[in-house]
Amino acid sequence: MTGDTLYHKKKRPLEALLLGAVYGAASVSVLLLCGVIGYVFAKGAGTLSWSFLTTVTSALKQTVGIAGNLVNTLYIIVLTLLAATPIGVGAAIYLNEYAKPGRLVRLIEFTTETLSGIPSVLFGLFGMVFFGEVLGLGYSLLSGAFTLTLMVLPLIVRNAQEALRTVPDSYRSGALGMGASRWHMIRTILLPSAIPGILTGIILAVGRIVGESAALLFTAGSARLLPRLGGGLLENVKKLGGKALESGGTLTIELYLQMQNGKYDVAFGAGCVLIVIVLCINLWMKLLAGRWKTR
């Protein structure tokens, strides 16, 4: 047994092959990404212009633009977050601070998990029937926002829960020991410390909303008009509010419709804007995560 020498590198052709496959797979993944982003930019950059961002596509005025879709996207983001954030954070507070392990908690966790697994087409179908027909909202930004509220809820709940979990127990017992009520403790101690995590959930939700299409196609519709302003302040506020009840297509919907019609230059232009938004959201997340870590 001592006869064989150590001075002999064993040849392992199969392993070299496997290692090659590992490198190959990684390169494919990276190239795909660079390809996707690079290509959309290369194709779409030509379309991008100030008027593309600030006008509405109109055959009459002979303009091509996505301003209406940007406004619609903003509407959906704001309306969705207005509904989803309080509910999501409230649910996280319940799960972390009030609930005792048992059937109810398991059911809540299971259904939250289920919500995050349901495909967006099905959210679209449900939204169309429930918000559109049963509640009579029709194709409207509000109907779309309600539908997306259900969709992004798990993101907000999970991130808020994560954040609440990292708040040390000593904070809780400290506050409660001083005679603060639990609600007071949550408001003054817990929520402020959990804000970065809640913000993470919100940003992720924004990313999801910006990229969503199937669920909105059936609920928010595809109109691309800008809100018509004019008259006094009160009137304008009314008009802006009223827009929530009108149909409106987000940027992704516009992209989809344009490519369906073979108008690829507009589609790539919209794609460019979408990718810039996604990049910004990612960057924002990174900054937030970095800040959170250093604290």
Binding site: T2, L6, Y7, K10
Partner: protein, 252 residues
């Protein structure tokens, strides 16, 4: 007993700029138990890992000097580390069985080295488990997960796993520090038995253990070997004041 298995010459190890081993020289005898003792952070574990080149995995480590295994320098460029580690097995401080069945744990090494035939594997597994004095306890549940065993059993399983590749040298890094006294005494008995067929090098923080099980002992301090020699002599007539201080419990 007198033949040397490992010869360490002028071994130095650096973590970045920090010199963790200083000019270590040692002659480790074949079919004997050599104990490495010293306070924590003295370099005894680092030295142990030099013998099967597990330090290669650590970033920023540079090693100078020679470790000769049967006359061959294991730090030679031509050395195949997998072959080296097959010859120089290792048992870790924390039992670390794979999340697989008991059988698959022991068969893991032989399979790596190309043993495929079921019958041959069966006999290797049985032999290794017997060698580690755990066969009787597990023979009826070889297909059960290894993580279901107690800590002491897991450690002996890890010894069996190391034996299954038929090493010549067995390195043990504080193998009993995570175990209860009964399991510890079982592993100590095992070391006695193992030296009939293997060269054993064991790191221990427990001086009684070193005194009980080893033939030779090396006392490490701040990365250097202060004293090395037959265990009986080292414990009864330490030549160096620092060795005496350590074994009488004045520091460490």
């Amino acid at each position: 007993m007198e033949k040397s298995k490992l010869l360490v010459k002028d071994l130095n190890l650096y973590y970045g700029a920090n010199r963790a081993l200083k000019d270590v020289e040692m002659e480790i005898r074949d079919k004997a138990v050599t104990a490495l003792i010293g306070p924590s952070g003295c370099g005894k574990s680092t030295f142990l890992k030099c013998i099967n080149r597990m330090n290669d995995l650590v970033e920023n480590v540079r090693i100078r000097g020679q470790v000769l295994l049967d006359g061959e320098n294991i730090y030679d460029r031509r050395v195949d580390t997998t072959l080296l580690r097959k010859k120089v097995g290792m048992v870790f401080q924390q039992p670390n069985p794979f999340p697989m069945s008991i059988y698959d744990n022991v068969a893991y090494g032989p399979r790596l080295h190309g043993v495929k035939a079921k019958q041959e594997l069966d006999s290797i597994v049985e032999e290794a488990l017997k060698g580690a004095a755990i066969f009787e306890e597990v023979k009826d549940r070889l297909k059960k997960p290894a993580l279901g065993l107690s800590g002491g059993q897991q450690q002996r399983l890890c010894i069996a796993r190391a034996l299954a590749v038929r090493p010549e040298v067995l390195l043990m890094d504080e193998p009993t520090s995570a175990l209860d006294p009964i399991s510890t005494s079982k592993v100590e008995e095992l070391m006695e038995a193992l030296k009939k067929s293997y060269t054993v090098v064991v790191v221990t923080h427990n001086m009684q253990q070193a005194a009980r099980v080893s033939d030779d002992t090396a006392f490490f301090l701040l990365g250097a070997v202060v004293e090395f020699g037959p265990t009986a002599a080292l414990f009864s007539r330490p030549r160096d004041k620092r060795t005496e201080d350590y074994i009488t419990g004045r520091f460490g």
